[in-house]
Symmetry: C2
Subunit: 126 residues, 2 copies
């Protein structure tokens, strides 16, 4: 155990879970590199690293749905980060659902259980 995330364990990227600070709902999981982690701590807003775009992802920079970070936790082996956040705009997921985990696995397939908060076509204009 160390006193900081061990980014080397994840080849530079570690998973970061965003949990609603009030309700405990898990909103999303994304990845952080050392730079995005440092900026998150410095600014109090969640900053991830986008694997698909290969660059810093300041959550909400396009949608406005920023995450104000209330607390940060590190797991026992220093390779997973937990953020407790206030989700501005009431939705974390780019699909418009409050949480990215809006589909429940059932024997018959996936069941949509989450609440759709916005229309992504309106928010992410081309």
């Amino acid at each position: 155990m160390s006193e900081a995330p061990d980014f080397a364990k994840g080849d530079g990227l570690l998973p970061a879970i965003a949990q609603d600070a009030e309700t405990g709902e898990i909103l999303m999981m994304a990845y952080m590199n050392a730079e995005s982690y440092a900026e998150t701590l410095a600014t109090g807003r969640a900053v991830y690293f986008s694997r698909s775009r290969q660059k810093l992802w300041r959550k909400g920079e396009e949608s406005g749905n920023v995450q104000q970070v209330r607390d940060v936790f590190l797991d026992c082996d220093d390779d997973t980060i937990l953020l407790k956040v206030n989700q501005i705009g009431d939705a974390a997921c780019h699909t418009g659902y409050r949480s990215c985990f809006y589909r429940r696995v059932t024997p018959e397939g996936l069941e949509v259980v989450g609440k759709k908060v916005f229309d992504p076509d309106e928010v992410y204009k081309k």
Copy 2:
């Protein structure tokens, strides 16, 4: 989006978050391969894939602290799994803490905030 986790996206392994079904506390994060995911659904007990041991990890097989799976959710891009569980033995972490996320990041370093439930030297006898 598909109707199942896309294990190929993680080179065979996807992160799986275990959340207390009652309290919403995040207990741990580990990895699953297709086999452990299938066994989890079939048995109703959380089964992960241990990256360090490179084999199936039936959570609680040594400590007795199994996780009864109440619900399974899949995220929007099919590459993160969320388990809502009942944690038997009241502790998920091999260190004896209830949650692996028992350390809070502060400007002065890490602060232990979690509750220690058992003594790992007693539980994991050599």
